[in-house]
């Protein structure tokens, strides 16, 4: 029988004698993957580089967002939700947007210029569905994880009420808008680094038209995270824009078509 190592030995000696057992960290919510700072840095760097070269990997953009979600900024966003009565209700009720909870085909029947109709039409035009949002895994605080999840699921609504299309220019413009409105780091990173992939004419369009629009409107508008989208699907889009303080930007697809037809 091997003699037992006394436990008052230093950890170094204990390691040399006994088998090491890895203790997995305890998750804070279902689906949570606890990560330490080094792992977050690794994820941020890896997903940033990878998604820059392969932007079709949507899951990596989500991972980048979660790895760079500084707790300070996420808590600030959560506090902005807490400061608003609708925001507080959203945090309490924790609604989730999926295709089953929204009934897209019903939304298409809504009157013109309602939020629901605009959203469903935008989904159809761009060919996307609300189920494409991955669950949040790497954010450690449970409530901040929900805030990030909510932001991700409402992203399509932001597209719908600003009218920005799903092409990369539209996404960048919307990212800048979201950065000015929510201060989530990934939106800023996307808005600053992604234009490096664009053609000069597209960058010029962004610089002269869309970025100024995004910064002005995002900063002055009320926080979009506090909008309870599921309840206002039958309200008029323009009224909502006026309430929030957003102007609709020029139609990006229209501008691109015009330029192509002029060439």
């Amino acid at each position: 029988m091997r003699p037992r190592v006394p436990t008052n030995f230093s950890p170094c000696v204990r390691l040399l004698r006994r088998n090491y057992t890895y203790n997995a960290p305890i998750p804070n919510y279902p689906g949570h993957v606890p990560t330490n700072i080094f792992q977050k840095l690794f994820l941020a760097a890896g997903s940033g580089i990878y998604s820059f070269f392969d932007p079709t990997r949507g899951d990596l953009i989500a991972t980048l967002g979660e790895a760079t979600a500084l707790p300070f900024l996420m808590e600030r966003l959560r506090d902005r939700m807490l400061a608003d009565p609708t925001g507080r209700r959203i945090l309490r009720e924790r609604p989730r947007i999926t295709s089953s909870s929204l009934h897209i085909d019903q939304l298409l029947e809504y009157p013109e210029n309602t939020i629901g109709r605009t959203y469903a039409e935008w989904l159809k035009r761009e060919g996307v569905s609300p189920d494409t949002r991955a669950p949040v895994r790497y954010i450690d605080d449970e409530e901040c994880a929900y805030v990030m999840q909510r932001y991700r699921e409402c992203h399509d609504f932001y597209h719908a009420i600003t009218g920005l299309p799903i092409i990369i220019e539209g996404e960048i413009a919307l990212k800048m808008f979201e950065f000015a409105n929510t201060a989530i780091p990934m939106t800023g990173i996307g808005a600053v680094l992604a234009p490096l992939r664009l053609k000069p004419k597209q960058r010029e369009r962004l610089q002269t038209i869309y970025f100024p629009w995004a910064i002005k409107n995002g900063a002055s508008a009320k926080p979009l995270i506090n909008v309870y989208w599921e309840e206002i699907l039958d309200r008029d889009v323009q009224k909502l824009r006026e309430e929030l303080g957003i102007e609709k930007p020029p139609d990006l697809r229209g501008l691109r078509k015009k330029r192509i037809s002029r060439l």
């Binding site: 390691l15 040399l16 997995a24 690794f42 997903s47 990596l60 991972t63």
Partner: protein, 311 residues
């Protein structure tokens, strides 16, 4: 010379089994008795297979579900399997596999018969191609065949695709079949000279059953060889290795293959696999003869090669 309970070894097997010590007959088990014992156990076990749980990584799942779960894991990693192996082991897995094949030294010897090799859980064909190349180049053996079996059709398809780019594209020396390693219903008894399983056995639901199936299909004198992740035998290195496995590999799986969960399962299944000595014991329990400890550590025990001979 070798006289194993009245079964003489054929000449080529004597040459090949230089690493097997023939002096261990004090521990020799009587094959028929142990085989009968195991048979009766498995029959009573079948009634409760659905209610018994087994481990899937660190989770507990019903036994009849594990097969499906493992199949799903490998379906999702099939295409990027080799890239991930390179990323996880820094390319060392190639060295391990080369050493494994060199140690087994497959190939028809002068005056001998061509080998029939069974490569289990060898979906993408890494080991199979290495063995065929070794036999062809070192022993000038153009007849030995390899049957690659796997539970996962996607991995086999990957392997078949790769075979089309080799000199074995006509399929006369390599065959791919979907089989469950615990049953091997398409493989007749006493038909294989060499049974190999590389990085597959830790995923099996019932490892003793797979070892017994291996025993069944091997010819007397046939060799069982298993290359698998195992326990690192130096304390500090073990800590570093496990930290690396659990902290880094699933994240790399997320980045490279968009599949964190499959790689989490892979590192957990490595942690769950028995140690070198325990596994050597299990191989002996299935009726194989082992020499010495029955295993060889690779890279401080990160991987280990276990061998046994059917007597």
């Amino acid at each position: 010379m070798a006289f194993l309970q009245g079964l003489p070894l054929r000449p080529y097997q004597l040459l090949r089994l230089g690493h097997v010590a023939y002096g261990r007959f004090s521990n020799a088990r009587y094959l028929s008795a142990s085989a009968l014992l195991h048979k009766s156990n498995s029959e009573s076990n079948q009634q409760t297979a659905a209610s018994r749980t087994t481990h899937f990584g660190f989770r507990d799942v019903p036994e009849d579900e594990k097969e499906e779960l493992v199949r799903d894991v490998f379906s999702s990693v099939a295409k990027s399997y080799d890239v991930m192996n390179d990323v996880m082991s820094f390319g060392i897995h190639r060295i391990w596999k080369d050493h494994f094949v060199a140690k087994l030294d497959p190939g028809r010897r002068p005056g001998g018969e061509p080998l029939s090799v069974l490569d289990v859980a060898g979906g993408t064909g890494d080991i199979a191609f290495r063995m065929l190349d070794w036999a062809t180049e070192i022993h000038n053996d153009h007849q030995s065949k390899v049957l690659v079996v796997d539970i996962n059709d996607d991995m086999l398809k990957e392997g078949h695709k790769r075979s089309l780019a080799t000199r074995y594209a006509d399929g006369s020396r390599i065959e791919f079949k979907v089989q469950n390693a615990e049953v091997l219903d398409a493989v007749p008894d006493n038909s294989q000279d060499l049974y190999t399983v590389a990085f597959g056995i830790r995923n099996f639901t019932n490892i003793p059953a797979a070892l017994r199936a291996a025993h069944r299909v091997l010819k007397p004198g046939g060799v069982f060889a298993c290359l698998e992740f195992s326990k690192v035998n130096v304390g500090i290195l073990d800590m570093i290795y496990q930290q690396y496995s659990f902290s880094v590999i699933p994240l790399m799986g997320q980045l490279v293959a968009a599949d964190r969960d499959s790689y989490q399962y892979l590192v957990e299944s490595i942690a769950r696999f028995p140690s070198q000595k325990e596994f050597a014991r299990m191989i002996q329990d299935a009726g194989f003869e082992v020499s010495g400890d029955g295993y060889e550590d690779l890279t401080f025990g990160v991987a280990a090669i276990h061998t046994g001979v059917k007597v």
